[in-house]
Symmetry: D2
Subunit: 138 residues, 4 copies
């Protein structure tokens, strides 16, 4: 699936989460290798001026979802079974970029890793591994 096709699928299936102005965007889609962005918004701040953990977990889950679509096609009923996140550094007050890369595309399980960076910086602020379970075709 292309970035546009995935965007349309998400708008149709998740209108509450992915809509114009939601702050999430799909920047690049290759097979099993995608880049997405969360626009900076003060609402996501927590004490110390850093972006909240749940904001980064949501972004990582979104990145993995897009990466899974890029490899296995439209599977809106696929579900995350595991997500592990390591928070590495305090993010800047800036957009967050998440690069997801699939490490395994199986019939039943898709496993990938996501690296999150502040826009314009090299060092990762968080690293995620995650597994999606794909419903069986019957």
């Amino acid at each position: 699936m292309s970035a546009d096709e995935i965007g349309e699928l998400l708008s149709a299936e998740f209108p509450q989460a992915f809509f114009p102005g939601c702050g999430l965007s799909i920047e690049r889609v290759d097979y099993g290798d995608v880049s997405v962005c969360r626009q900076y918004h003060e609402e996501h701040l927590r004490p110390g001026g850093t972006i909240s953990g749940p904001t980064m977990m949501e972004l990582a889950d979104f990145a993995m979802y897009v990466a899974m679509f890029s490899a296995v096609g439209p599977q809106p009923l696929a579900v995350t079974t595991n997500l592990n996140i390591n928070f590495l550094r305090k993010p800047a007050a800036a957009d967050l970029i998440a690069d997801a890369r699939l490490m395994k595309v199986g019939k039943r399980l898709v496993v990938g890793e996501v690296t999150i960076r502040s826009a314009g910086r090299d060092e990762p602020v968080a690293h995620v591994t995650s597994t999606y379970s794909i419903p069986q075709q019957r």
Copy 2:
């Protein structure tokens, strides 16, 4: 810290996240052993009628944050370093209850586990382990 003291601290430090009507509440606080609730809201749904993963990750992080306060006192600058979540079952269209229990309260690291259930049901919908890093007193 008591449930009321933690609620006041959160309202003061996280006014964007914890405010009247936000849907999160602190139900019970013992030392290192707490229960919190996320009120059901249709906005958190995803395809298949289930509550979204990020909603559960945010609730687990909130539960751990409250549990950490219950054991080490006001530490608003403590940060999550790791969170691992296993999604076990499709949640009901109901409130979510998260029970957090600390397994280690060290000087530098606090480690706990969180079990999330749909209100009124026994089987867990998700299980989380998480680590907080406590800033050193100087």
Copy 3:
């Protein structure tokens, strides 16, 4: 499966890992809820006099394997897909007891948690969550 049946299966399928004198034993087996033991042996020590991490990971994997058998029967081709371990305290120079409890017994995935303690002590030295994938019957 009972403790004896599981022991016989392991002896037959894993003669290199589970044999008389290997130091691993099955202490108790209920449905999805088991207890296993690793006998103390100086070989597993690391600097500082503590038992090595890999020794505890191996014990946790063994405990999960026995717990899976207790719930889904003989499935020697089941494979671990994920294991997450938090090391909590320095173990004593003593036997290690691992209690495994399944949180989900699905057709495709089995998810459980394992708590490891030094024999005779209450505080956990490590906590593990792990997922097994069950091959489909055909």
Copy 4:
């Protein structure tokens, strides 16, 4: 520290685990970026002819340990606090190569990822993230 210096430190501090003929070797050491090898041995097999999970977890922990030394110098009392492994594919009956790369080198915590492959193959058989806690200098 160089590969030779790290090998000497390990031989001195872990004579039970790292000795001539133990099957583990250090192949390459750059700052926070190392490669280690586990020689193939039939003893590590499990049903289905695959190499056991604990063998891969032990190798990943060894790779992280060497990577940590490469960045922070001799710290034999550093301890693993968390290790998360995803098993991706059945390994070949061949040597295992583990590449470890540090993502964060902090004063208190070191976080890295490890990719394990069968010698001569591109696809990863397992992926690990792990955190080490560094004792404070006094």
